[in-house]
Symmetry: D2
Subunit: 126 residues, 4 copies
């Protein structure tokens, strides 16, 4: 439980600061240029693919406890690198996501997009 722990990470902003402290304590700033960070992020995103690559979509909805824990750690890795990248680029994650969702709502209005994602009509647009 995070509620009453002064060290708890209760917001994206706190996470951002903790990751920054973590990196600075280890003098890793020089490795954390955006080019390297997007590479690290892609590595972690692909590690998230791996547990699912031979599963059917239905099996992917019914992970074992072990599988779910492995996936949970990879999801965490992706969030950590994404947060670090946004911090280094001075981009606010929630603002960016809010703007993108608004853009997607205009590109994929409910009447047009209802039920149809097969033609890569996705809610996170390219």
């Amino acid at each position: 439980m995070r509620l009453m722990d002064p060290h708890a990470i209760d917001s994206l902003d706190t996470l951002r600061r903790r990751i920054r402290e973590f990196a600075e304590a280890r003098a890793w700033e020089r490795y954390h240029n955006p080019k390297n960070l997007v590479m690290a992020l892609s590595v972690e995103a692909a590690e998230l693919l791996e547990p699912f690559q031979w599963l059917t979509p239905e099996q992917s909805r019914q992970l074992s406890a072990d599988q779910r824990e492995a996936v949970r750690q990879e999801i965490a890795d992706v969030l950590i690198y994404l947060t670090r990248l946004a911090d280094v680029l001075d981009i606010d994650l929630l603002d960016a996501a809010a703007d993108k969702l608004a853009l997607n709502a205009r590109k994929y209005p409910v009447e047009k997009a209802h039920g149809n994602a097969l033609k890569s009509t996705e809610f996170s647009n390219d």
Copy 2:
């Protein structure tokens, strides 16, 4: 500015709910099994690589306004899919990240890891 807008996205949890509403309004739940979502996430993570692939690390720290805006949108796409994936798997993003950071701190104590990331000693461990 998000502060006084009832529709503003002021937390990861609000983002999670907005994305869920967005998907449900379009009857996209059947496409959003974890296998498909991790694929979509990897597609977006790789779109984040593209603006940087021919830049030097130094150039990656000095993006033009246009480059930064393109990157901002791709970062948003990654966060949106990551949040949706975590929601579908019932994984709390901040809890997962906090646990992973704690694990990384044990694996890469400051005395050992200071200044050294070349041997893939990274703060987001595999």
Copy 3:
């Protein structure tokens, strides 16, 4: 048909030389360091994911002519960058693949691996 066309690409080695000429004619060698090339390769591999992200595995076996042509181009992009990367690193692609297949045969002998890939027992081992 490629057989009697002096310009045809009839082997991986010819492809390697054509890509090298293509890059040198455009003075692109300085961009083609291995770090950049693996990034470009990952970008293309993810572009190969995109047409399939909302399809079921069964649908993925029955692509339309348009889908198949798009996939064919992305497959070509991956091979081109892989060949260029191997050339820059002076790695023989067929030798490397032959060695890896031999290693996989030892790691996944038929008796053990028959029918079972669910536990990420894959023929192209990590």
Copy 4:
């Protein structure tokens, strides 16, 4: 050396057949639908990113023997999955690459593209 070994893999087509035999011997065909194969390919492409993520471009040109061997194995993994995917989709790899290079030559004529890749003017076009 491959030259006089009847079991040697001396062409992409031989590689294709060997990989097919490998998969069939293990009854893995049912896992090898295109959707799964493009995921496995992306996983391997990202494993190729990892050795380079904290290196500078210059360091990426001077790998140690160990680093080079690790990279060689990941390159092999990518080629193996790409070859398998093309086989399952009945796509000829060299034909596809030849067509794509020809297309790229038209899109990036030497006069226009010389020295310039910074605006993602790449020889393997999207």
